[in-house]
């Protein structure tokens, strides 16, 4: 019996229970087999378990919103490691480091294990009763939910619960989210999140879109990138050009990385439109007129990019097509972020990329399962309501606003104004510490869910246009702590308080989900005549349910009227440097900071571990007499933090960058006190058209504090130098090469 051999075995008879049946130990779990507790000693193993041989169960990763499909390796009733699911159109068997750390979230020693009411342990019944009690006499508009991205059946239950409460206050908040891009895409292409086809492009020009690192769905984009470099679909190695104020992981992989003045991405895009026209691209007359003044020389002044560079890129865009222009976090992080994004979308339009490398995803046949995607404007609105005392009872889930809200919003104080605050959480993070009732969640490795990711990845076949999928999440093992519950179970419990008739038939979320799946066999790809057990088992064990969606088309909707950029702002003399917060693949918004593998995994660009840092251009640092390790105080109008200096060549001289996600108080032993929280000092500047918190509009001044430390990092004494040694990390420069046939 071998591992490979077993995977081909017929799962239909037994699986669907996942690993839960393996290690039951009578701990009160009633989610199996019609509410009966089954104790299975190891003398009588389930027939698919052979000690020493692992079983693999498909599930969905929850470490970020990309929704990669993974399989958990389960031995003797416990999950050990996650691998990618080869059948997933999202990640095709691959995984990122953040996903690997999901097991550390599951086995984390700092998880909350019991409900806490005002700091005291209570039972779930008492907790739910307390909620019911507090909700008594409170009007619907005085109740609010602040969640992160949420989709699938959990979203359905949440929507139903809000409806039952008579509340419309669902704020979907994600500190890291391409919200401005969504709005711009809607305007430009008619869809908020089109399918970006990096693999079909001959040239990708990215304005700060870190698609290999932390942008939208990095594992999927990385796969496309691999094909892009091979030239599998274009017959030539793809060229990547990255324009951004601070180098991201994607920028580090670019053929040409260009530092650009923060905020001027839109101007550069318009300059490129102007330039491609001079190289022979067909630009409609009205648009050409609108960009007339954006000559390479003028744009060069505005952006700091040498005009020869602008011309080179323009020439390349004309000679090699199709191309793909991406607007990333850096481009949208300004008060005029929307305008930047629209200018960049216009460049796509002019180059004819719409429909070639920008495609429309299919529509989800079950819109109620669609993701409620988070953005930062939601936090701002929620905060306003709190400040005005509008909300009496608030719930938070998959969000840590006390940590990630800028101090200028006064969120922590406003939060206190709500009379009863309930936090659904894994850790005693900052928001949980401020909450009145803390409800401990089951980890993603021990929970049921369905997930619909925002970005629709499709397999490359004839059904790509109509392909959309729903992913399953099933427990890899029995719950570690009996008093944790999945969000689905919690919402179901709450719903039963309001609409007991509708939900009394479901003992738990598993039962609810089971029923939902069986009621929709045909829609989920089965036949009406399929046996219930067989269909359920097959569905859950595959983990990915393709749904026949409605094909859409992207449109090229922008007109010259959409081109509007503000004049370049003058220098801020009191705060001469611009702070661009960076998002790293492993740390993201900091929700995974208590997973030690992630803290120990060096930042790919600076190799710093276990701490935050401020990246300073070496020339700027030399002028200010700053050396590596100096503790720098970075002060904005809204606050200041201190952290260690790191001299980084990949950053604009007038920009400093600090990674987000560090500087937790509490949360756990690996996150507490590690680094400084850059969110806290951001200026309250908002994107004009969407109201999004603009992340790159904070001007700062930096000063040495007098302290110096040795930066703990992986690179050695000579930094990234090859010390004149032959053939270590070799780079070969060449013009136009085709690796599609290379073995």
């Amino acid at each position: 019996m071998t591992e490979n051999d077993f995977n081909r075995r017929d799962f239909l008879k037994v699986l669907g229970w996942g690993g839960t049946a393996v290690a039951l130990s009578g701990c009160g779990n009633t989610s199996i087999q019609n509410g009966e507790e089954i104790i299975t000693p190891y003398v009588t193993l389930p027939e698919y378990v052979i000690p020493g041989i692992a079983n693999y169960f498909n599930t969905t990763c929850a470490q970020c919103s990309a929704g990669c499909n993974i399989k958990g390796r389960v031995r003797e009733g416990r999950v050990l490691k996650a691998e990618g699911n080869q059948d997933s159109p999202v990640n095709r068997g691959k995984m990122c480091g953040l996903g690997q750390a999901g097991v550390q979230n599951h086995y984390n020693p700092d998880r909350v294990t019991k409900p806490l009411l005002a700091g005291k342990e209570v039972t779930w019944d008492q907790a739910l009763a307390a909620i019911n009690d507090k909700l008594g006499g409170v009007k619907g508009e005085e109740i609010a939910f602040l969640t992160g991205d949420i989709s699938g059946h959990a979203r359905v239950l949440l929507d139903n619960y809000l409806e039952a409460l008579g509340s419309k206050n669902h704020f979907a908040y994600e500190a890291v989210s391409p919200a401005v891009l969504r709005a711009a895409n809607k305007r430009a292409y008619g869809v908020e999140m089109p399918r970006y086809r990096i693999d079909k492009a001959a040239v990708v020009v990215s304005f700060g879109a870190d698609f290999l690192g932390a942008w939208i769905t990095p594992v999927h984009f990385s796969q496309q990138y691999a094909q892009f470099r091979k030239g599998a679909r274009t017959g030539g190695r793809g060229v990547l050009v990255q324009f951004e104020p601070k180098m991201t992981l994607t920028g580090a992989n670019a053929d040409r990385w260009v530092a650009i003045r923060p905020g001027s991405e839109g101007a550069l895009a318009l300059g490129l439109i102007n330039a491609v026209a001079s190289y022979g691209a067909k630009v409609p007359a009205d648009i050409a007129a609108a960009v007339k003044e954006y000559t390479p020389e003028r744009v060069s002044l505005d952006t700091g990019v040498p005009f020869e560079q602008i011309n080179k890129v323009a020439k390349l865009l004309v000679e090699r097509s199709p191309s793909l222009i991406l607007a990333g976090d850096a481009a949208e992080g300004y008060a005029h972020g929307m305008q930047n994004a629209l200018a960049i979308a216009m460049l796509n339009q002019v180059l004819g990329n719409v429909g070639k490398t920008i495609e429309a995803p299919a529509s989800l046949p079950f819109p109620q399962l669609a993701p409620a995607v988070g953005n930062r404007a939601a936090l701002v609105e929620f905060n306003k309501g709190l400040a005005a005392g509008k909300y009496k009872v608030v719930f938070t889930y998959a969000a840590n606003p006390v940590f990630s809200a800028p101090a200028a919003l006064q969120f922590q104080n406003n939060f206190k104004k709500a009379e009863f605050k309930v936090a659904f959480t894994h850790y005693m993070d900052e928001t949980a510490q401020a909450a009145d009732l803390v409800l401990p969640l089951a980890s993603a490795m021990e929970d049921w869910a369905t997930v619909v990711p925002e970005y629709t990845a499709a397999p490359e076949d004839s059904h790509a246009d109509t392909y959309v999928h729903m992913s399953f999440r099933q427990p890899m093992m029995d719950k570690l702590y009996p008093d944790t519950r999945g969000i689905g179970d919690v919402l179901l419990g709450l719903l039963k308080q309001r609409k007991s008739d509708d939900y009394k038939g479901f003992d738990d979320f598993y039962a609810y989900l089971h029923n939902a799946v069986l009621k929709n066999k045909v829609a989920l790809g089965g036949k009406a005549t399929d046996g219930d057990d067989e269909f359920w088992n097959a569905t859950v064990s595959k983990g990915i349910v393709p749904l026949g969606g409605h094909a859409n088309k992207v449109a090229a909707k922008l007109t010259a009227a959409d081109i509007k950029l503000p004049p370049v702002a003058g220098p801020d003399t009191a705060y001469p440097l611009r702070l661009v917060p960076s998002v790293s693949a492993n740390m993201r918004d900091g929700r995974n900071a208590n997973q030690p593998w992630l803290q120990e995994s060096p930042d790919p660009l600076t190799t710093v571990v276990w701490d935050s840092w401020v990246e300073i251009n070496p020339q700027t640092a030399a002028k200010l007499g700053i050396v590596e390790g100096d503790i720098i105080e970075i002060a904005s109008r809204s606050g200041s933090i201190k952290t260690q200096a790191y001299l980084f060549p990949g950053i604009h001289p007038d920009v400093v960058s600090i990674p987000v996600g560090y500087g937790h108080h509490g949360m756990g032993r690996y996150a507490n006190g590690v680094g400084a929280n850059v969110y806290s000092m951001l200026d309250p500047v908002f994107e004009e058209q969407t109201g999004e918190l603009a992340l790159s509009e904070t001007n700062v001044t930096i000063a040495r504090s007098g302290e110096r430390v040795i930066v703990v990092k992986d690179e050695g004494a000579v930094g990234g130098s090859q010390a004149g040694r032959a053939k270590i990390a070799v780079q070969w420069p060449i013009d136009k090469v085709d690796y599609s046939k290379e073995v």
């Binding site: 040795i710 992986d714 690179e715 050695g716 004494a717 000579v718 130098s721 010390a723 004149g724 040694r725």
Partner: protein
């Protein structure tokens, strides 16, 4: 020119002077012994801590996997060459001025080797499995790895240590008999009786003794040369730049002789003062030792230059980088101190006036040994800080207090052993000094007789002439 030793010292006086050193020690002895014990305890405590916690407390890391432990190991092995040099090499060369001083030198050899052996244990991550290095019968049919210089070290040092102990002991037998015959009853008498193995001093015994001594001496000389060459192969057989130097075997042997001679000067001066051995450890002998040390210093300096020259004209970029790092990198102060102590300070030993100046020679000898200690360290750490792989360069790694504690503790250990030795066993070889005095007086008498005969002949001629 004063003689190396007074030729009219009565044998009974020799016995008396030397045996006086074995008397109950003065309070100062106990104080120094206590201090040495404290220093050793610090080292012992550090080692216990390191044993329990793991090697990480020494501040060793990747790439600095080796540090002061290896350097000290080699330093102590090096110091041990003094005894062999004096006992064996000079014995074969019939340089009899070694006779009053070789005993303590030989003792120093033995104790240096024991101290060095301790560093092997200290340096290992899993000391409790050190026996894996021995070719003992085991069910896995596993032999140790004969290709490994560390294993050769183990074999060589073990052989050298056991041979040195035998040599020291065998050479002491006639002296132990003297002690036995001159002691009151008590633990000493019992000890000497046991150890003297019934030595009576008969002709037959002396003949056998001479044969044995000579055999072991002849055996010990190549052993000593090979031991330090083998120890040097720890480095020269490796691939690392700065370590991978073909001239290391002779360089290390020269360095060993160098530091051994310097240590002899230090101990010479101390014992001469403490035990009032001025008659035996005379200034002319000191001068000879000093000049010998200078000669070895020049050999060492030459071999250093050979290493630098080879680096300069080679195509080995990594090797050049390491040398430059030694000269101007973070280890530069230690490197230049080593050069100063090893190649510049010896010239003080060529100043005739200073060759017998006790304070100056004492200070010089300590500086020379400091230079030699630094030399061993400068082979280990600069290379590891800047070898082939730029990503792992680490210019900022220094030994922790634990590492220093153990290194200093080893000096305390050595001092304890040596001080106990000096009070239990005669630190001057009585029978050999008697031999030296006898032979020298014979020589002098012969020379006088010849001179007198020459004079007398002339006188006779004159007398004859006068008579005629």
């Amino acid at each position: 020119m004063t003689k190396d030793i007074r030729e009219d010292i009565a044998w009974a006086k020799i016995n008396q002077d030397v045996l006086k050193s074995l008397q109950t020690p003065r309070p100062a002895y106990w104080v120094i012994l206590f201090v040495a014990f404290c220093v050793f305890s610090v080292g012992l405590g550090c080692e216990i801590y390191q044993y329990n916690m793991g090697m990480g407390v020494s501040n060793l890391d990747n790439p600095h996997a080796w540090g002061l432990y290896i350097a000290s190991f080699i330093f102590w092995i090096g110091m041990s060459h003094s005894g062999t040099l004096l006992s064996a090499i000079l014995h074969i060369m019939h340089a009899d001025w070694r006779k009053p001083i070789y005993r303590f030198a030989e003792a120093m050899t033995t104790f240096s080797l024991i101290t060095a052996a301790m560093f092997v244990a200290v340096h290992l991550g899993r000391v409790w499995q050190i026996y894996y290095a021995l070719p003992y019968p085991n069910e896995r049919w596993a032999w140790p790895n004969w290709q490994s210089p560390l294993l050769w070290d183990a074999m060589a040092v073990f052989t050298y240590l056991s041979s040195s102990i035998i040599f020291l002991y065998v050479g002491m037998i006639p002296d132990l008999a003297i002690c036995r015959d001159n002691m009151q009853s008590g633990w000493r008498k019992k000890l000497y009786t046991l150890m003297a193995l019934g030595w009576e001093g008969t002709d037959r015994q002396w003949r056998n003794f001479r044969m044995t001594y000579l055999t072991v001496a002849c055996f010990l000389i190549p052993l000593a040369v090979s031991v330090h060459s083998i120890v040097s192969t720890d480095f020269s057989v490796s691939q690392q730049p700065g370590m991978h130097v073909t001239s290391f075997p002779p360089y290390f042997v020269a360095g060993a002789l160098y530091s051994g001679c310097a240590a002899i000067i230090s101990l010479f001066i101390i014992l001469r003062y403490v035990f009032k051995f001025e008659e035996y450890m005379t200034l002319p002998i000191l001068r000879k030792v000093v000049r010998l040390t200078f000669a070895i210093a020049m050999v060492w300096t030459y071999l250093n230059c050979v290493e630098f020259a080879a680096t300069w004209y080679s195509h080995d970029e990594a090797e050049k980088a390491v040398l430059i790092q030694k000269a101007i990198g973070p280890y530069a102060p230690f490197f230049w101190t080593m050069i100063f102590c090893g190649s510049v300070v010896p010239f003080a030993m060529m100043v005739k006036k200073w060759q017998t100046n006790i304070p100056i020679m004492f200070a010089v000898s300590l500086l020379l040994n400091l230079g030699m200690f630094l030399e061993r360290w400068m082979i280990v750490s600069p290379t590891l800080s800047h070898d082939y792989w730029p990503w792992q360069f680490d210019h900022d790694q220094w030994p922790s207090m634990i590492q220093w504690g153990i290194v200093f503790g080893s000096f305390g250990f050595f001092v304890i052993l040596f001080m106990v030795f000096c009070k239990v066993f005669p630190s001057v070889s009585m029978y050999e000094v008697k031999e030296m005095v006898y032979h020298r007086s014979l020589q002098s008498k012969k020379a006088e007789a010849e001179a007198a005969a020459a004079e007398g002949l002339v006188g006779e001629e004159l007398a004859v002439k006068g008579a005629n």
